[in-house]
């Protein structure tokens, strides 16, 4: 293989979400793995077109929720029954109906932390430097541009062939992004 060490990848722009989706599907079918599509909003059906697996975030949140549930119960049982039992309004020390509101709040809080920090962990954000931004055009991806970038790390990647492939898939502009 030739050296692509000074390249980040090839970036191709498409006219609209439909063309982007068709191209993403073609890129996926051609066996590329290290590629991504860039758009100003999430496009319905793109995950399937790109052949992405389900997001793992649900599991992260579930684990956080379970920790919150157990922690919330433990906190209340321990402080109300073990650490400093107080007799309040004729209720038992282990007054479970009364533990529901706080337990619930803790489950929600922890799950929300899971959803929030899990999002950043899975997206590898925050990120200080991204070679993708070496392109001037990519800024349009947050406005009205639709892009595919095939990264040079992909085993199937080759500068000429990948560029030609994207052009054939309907790209209106392609460029090589330096690293």
């Amino acid at each position: 293989m030739r050296s692509n060490s000074n390249q980040y990848g090839v970036l191709a722009e498409f006219a609209n979400p439909a063309d982007l989706m068709d191209a993403a599907s073609a890129v996926n079918k051609a066996g590329y793995k290290h590629f991504d599509t860039y758009s100003p909003f999430p496009i319905h059906g793109m995950d399937d077109a790109m052949g992405l697996k389900e997001s793992k975030l649900g599991w992260i949140v579930l684990i956080h929720g379970i920790i919150g549930l157990l922690g919330g119960i433990a906190l209340q049982v321990w402080s109300m029954d073990i650490a400093y039992p107080l007799h309040i309004s004729g209720k038992p020390y282990l007054n479970f109906p009364a533990f529901v509101p706080v337990g619930f709040a803790i489950v929600i809080l922890l799950s929300a932390f899971g959803a929030f920090f899990g999002l950043f962990a899975l997206n590898k954000l925050p990120r200080l430097h991204n070679p993708l931004f070496n392109s001037d055009r990519i800024a349009k991806a947050t406005d009205d541009g639709f892009f595919i970038c095939i990264e040079a790390t992909d085993p199937v990647y080759s500068e000429e062939k990948s560029t030609a492939f994207l052009k054939e898939a309907g790209a209106i502009h392609t460029e090589i992004i330096p690293k």
């Binding site: 995950d47 992405l52 509101p101």
Partner: protein, 465 residues
């Protein structure tokens, strides 16, 4: 087999001939324009009002809660009324951003950012009151389960502590939800602004967002989960607020319908507040294409529904107060309507039950001026509702010899007014520096966002060069 009739087109969510770029421009230009003069004036006034609030709080802490008009039977009055009122207002934001999202109501995209911001600032105003009403505010950290030298723990049997957990959780989760929604738009701002410093600031908070589909995938999941978590949370927060009253045995407070009735009331007042703010903002920033009359109409329908639920709860409460045959309960309700606070009660009924009835008529629902007036009227009514609940029950409870009457002092009044300064200070900062409409979401509901648009007959044919 039958053939189908032609499709009836839904009202377009975005009016005018907008494409992706024009939406970006419409919203992202606002923070880049010169600050308008009215903004400086409004911000100045808000700051002054907030300063008054801070002075009142300082005086309260220095002197003690005696500077409020509280007296022996009435130990809670404006403080808790204001707390419940502000929390309730906040609920509309979460409802719009979370519940309408789960029900896939595309129209929410125009107003969700706006309403979410309102939520956060309203909850800040709300949280202030319980914090300052404790008397010895320097010991406020005792409400948290922190190990301390007395080896005491907070009382988890107390609804007041449930409130602490609920409101804090609500504030944090709302903020996280709001920020997740902001990230793609902050990236848009990063790519649009000219100045180096603003680019650096927007860029920092955008955290390196690229708009890649691998990011969008997790983003959508996260947004969905946060919406799913916020929905029961928002119900639970006002439910727990209602528990503050309803787990007690005070007549007029202890009634089982309180949880859903408080939630409906919260949504009712919150939507009214969103409308008041939105009607001004869309005018000032010329966003009539995005925040359309259709939005106003839909929100008025929700106001009508929740207002009617509130009216339903008033009626059922009154009936059961009689039906239950408990003397004190009966007295509490008759006393509300005909006792010393009858004026407050009838303001409440007029504003909350009578005024929304206008919205049965389509013409009124689409009348912006009337909507604006009624939205203010409803918020006044909802303040009085909380006042009636909190004060009438306390002022005249079981023992006639200890009955009293509550009159606010200037500190009560100025602290409450002052919270508007706090609210609008933050709100104006939000309008000035952040994209006030969720840009990426509005683009997502344009017909052009759907790949199918380009494949059907009326769309453009596939473009290839």
């Amino acid at each position: 087999m039958s053939q189908n009739t032609a499709i009836v087109p839904n009202n377009q969510l975005v009016k005018g001939n907008h494409d992706f770029a024009s939406i970006t421009k419409l919203i992202s230009d606002i923070p880049q324009e010169r600050t308008p003069l009215w903004w400086y004036i409004a911000f100045g006034i808000s700051n002054i009002v907030m300063a008054v609030m801070l002075a009142m709080i300082a005086w309260l802490i220095w002197e003690g809660v005696g500077v409020w008009g509280l007296n022996n039977p009435v130990g809670w009055a404006w403080d808790i009324t204001n707390f419940v009122w502000w929390v309730g207002i906040g609920h509309a934001g979460t409802l719009i951003s979370a519940i309408l999202f789960l029900f896939r109501q595309g129209w929410r995209t125009a107003i969700n950012r706006f309403a979410e911001s309102m939520t956060i600032f309203a909850v800040m105003c709300a949280g202030l009151f319980p914090a300052i009403h404790v008397g010895r505010i320097w010991a406020i950290y005792w409400i948290f389960p922190l190990p301390n030298s007395m080896q005491l723990w907070p009382n988890f049997n107390s609804p007041l502590l449930w409130d602490v957990f609920a409101v804090f959780t609500y504030l944090i989760v709302s903020t996280l939800f709001w920020y997740v929604g902001l990230i793609p738009d902050l990236a848009t701002m990063r790519d649009k602004v000219k100045g180096t410093i603003s680019r650096l600031l927007y860029g920092t908070f955008a955290l390196g967002w690229t708009g890649g589909n691998r990011q969008w995938q997790n983003y959508e999941k996260s947004y969905m989960i946060l919406a799913g978590l916020s929905t029961p949370l928002v119900l639970s927060v006002h439910t727990i607020v209602s528990f503050d009253f309803a787990v007690s045995i005070i007549p007029g407070w202890h009634t089982t319908i309180f949880p859903p009735y408080f939630v409906a009331g919260a949504v009712f007042s919150g939507f009214a507040m969103v409308l008041s703010l939105m009607i001004i903002t869309r005018k000032l920033y010329k966003l009539e294409d995005i925040m359309t009359v259709d939005h106003i109409e839909k929100m008025n329908i929700i106001i009508l529904v929740t207002g009617t639920i509130v009216g339903f709860a008033y009626a059922i409460e009154f009936f059961i107060a009689w039906y239950g045959g408990v003397e004190y309960e009966k007295f509490a309700f008759v006393n509300r309507a005909f006792g010393p606070y009858a004026w407050a009660y009838w303001i409440m009924i007029t504003c909350n039950v009578v005024s929304p009835q206008f919205f049965w008529v389509k013409k009124f629902r689409r009348n912006v001026a009337l909507t604006f007036i009624l939205s203010i009227v409803i918020n006044i009514g909802m303040w009085f509702e909380r006042f009636v609940i909190v004060v009438t029950s306390l002022a005249q409870d079981f023992l006639p010899s200890s009955w009293g009457y509550f009159s606010p002092t200037y500190v009560d009044v100025l602290t409450y007014i002052g919270t508007f300064g706090l609210f609008f200070t933050f709100f104006l900062l939000f309008l000035r520096f952040l994209p006030m409409v969720a840009i990426s979401e509005v683009k997502g509901v344009l017909p052009q966002a759907n790949p199918a648009y380009y494949r059907s007959n009326n769309g453009k044919s596939k473009t290839t060069e």
